[in-house]
Symmetry: C2
Subunit: 296 residues, 2 copies
């Protein structure tokens, strides 16, 4: 496969990691091309808005590219999401892969063009890690290289659940950010997965409440919570923590809420087709997720 | 006037400030009653959800109360907002006063019951300040004690604007939080005011983008930005700052955006009737805001 690495949001804060990602993908026999945005910087972004928008068009139009691999997240897609031609991007037939701020692209691609994208590893943190995760690589190439892929993992939640639906979600901040806008896909009966980083549990709970008050949780068949990392509790929390936050949400929705999905700002992450389909079977803490209907 | 002080969200982190607020309001000749939630604590809240909900009903039903004064913000109203009987609260005829997390109550009161509430000082930070602000007190009692009130202040923005509309808004996080839910009032042609604390400029920009993508900004006659305080820039910002964020939003909306409104998590704050009407006249940096149609 040929990977085009682009940075549609934040600039490359760790150029050595990008170099490692290029070497590692090449070493696995893949082609790699670095888009200009992978090596430029403007303020906290890789480049001004017009240039980041152009990068998306450039990769979509690259006849050699198979996978459009995000370099990293940060902040930036929300500035240009209303100017992306998702019909053209969808017709390009590339696999768009990333997470974090990239969730904005993924939600909008599904909402505006019914386009499937891939929530999974990025160049900087994952492919460019000093000690890359075998789990992450296996799942990524497993999903990208096959028309369906089944994952088994431990999930904490109701003792027995079986359901199927459109798989969607990503970074909780970005999902909540698009509630009430044209960029949130209108998925009914879906399986919603969520993760976040650097958000205190009360903020996580508040964002989950936005999804609850907007009806998004009740319209889901199941909610799969991944990793919520990089926050600090303090004395004013008085024992309130992530477990309290998730317990509160569970008490308010009539939908199975699972925790422990290997996804988020963590080393071991699944690759999840956003807009594909998933059959989830969970029994006594062990779940299998069959991912299908994602490949064109 | 008789003030009932309640804590519908966070617990009183500074009991001495509450005592000062009681003494100060009493010293001005007002009656003061401390609700039980002003002196209790549960986790990071004043009390469990049912008890905080009951406190709102208790103050609404208190025949002696004129003003329901929030003790402080924090996090908590989003948990109970769907269980508040805003018709009953509205019929109670009290003036509900506060800001920050209380914005959730104010937006929902306007959305569900067309009820006017007051964005302004709270017991802990404002009435209980060691050095209270004359500006804050004058404006608060000026608005509460009169059927209309005119404020003059410096506002930075377009050189000449005159418009009228429903005044609404409050804490930006809470306004963005309710986008896409039944608790965001559907105000067209309004004057929207916003403030926040502890949010990095990119988060402020991202929340403003949610209002932009949801059409809220374009439906406004003017946007008044108050104080955005308590954040830290870092090396990765590369010069991006609050001015960049506001400049970006200004470049995207066809609506006058002013900065400098004396409102937010700052000592000198206006009292603004949410759901009342405002006529804004601005010329060369000096604005007058006539607040009216708020008293029953």
């Amino acid at each position: 496969m040929r990977f085009d690495i682009l940075a549609p949001a934040g600039f490359a804060t760790d150029p050595a990691a990008v170099a490692r990602a290029v070497a590692r993908l090449s070493g696995l026999g893949h082609g790699v091309h670095l888009d200009a945005t992978a090596e430029s910087r403007w303020q906290r972004f890789s480049a001004p808005d017009d240039a980041r928008l152009a990068a998306i068009g450039r990769v979509a139009a690259d006849p050699d590219a198979d996978v459009a691999l995000m370099l990293r997240g940060g902040f930036g897609l929300t500035r240009i999401v209303d100017r992306i031609d998702f019909d053209a991007v969808g017709r390009s037939g590339k696999r768009w892969l990333g997470h974090s701020d990239f969730t904005a692209f993924q939600l909008a691609a599904l909402a505006r063009a019914g386009m499937v994208t891939y929530a999974g590893p990025m160049a900087s943190y994952d492919f460019g890690a000093e000690q890359p995760s075998v789990f992450t690589f296996e799942n990524c190439f497993g999903v990208l290289g096959n028309r369906e892929w089944t994952v088994e993992c431990a999930l904490d939640g109701p003792s027995q659940v079986e359901c199927s639906g459109v798989l969607w979600g990503g970074n909780l901040t970005m999902v909540a950010h698009f509630v009430g806008t044209p960029y949130l896909p209108d998925v009914s009966g879906g399986i919603l997965f969520l993760e976040d980083v650097g958000e205190h549990p009360y903020r996580i709970e508040r964002m989950l409440y936005q999804l609850l008050h907007a009806g998004v949780l009740a319209r889901s068949r199941a909610v799969l919570l991944g990793a919520f990392t990089g926050y600090e509790l303090n004395a004013n929390d008085g024992g309130y923590d992530l477990v309290s936050a998730i317990g509160q949400i569970r008490s308010r929705v009539p939908v199975p809420v699972f925790t422990g999905l290997p996804f988020g700002h963590v080393r071991e992450k699944l690759t999840l087709p956003v807009g594909g389909r998933c059959t989830l079977r969970s029994r006594d803490g062990i779940a299998s997720m069959r991912l299908f209907d994602y490949a064109a």
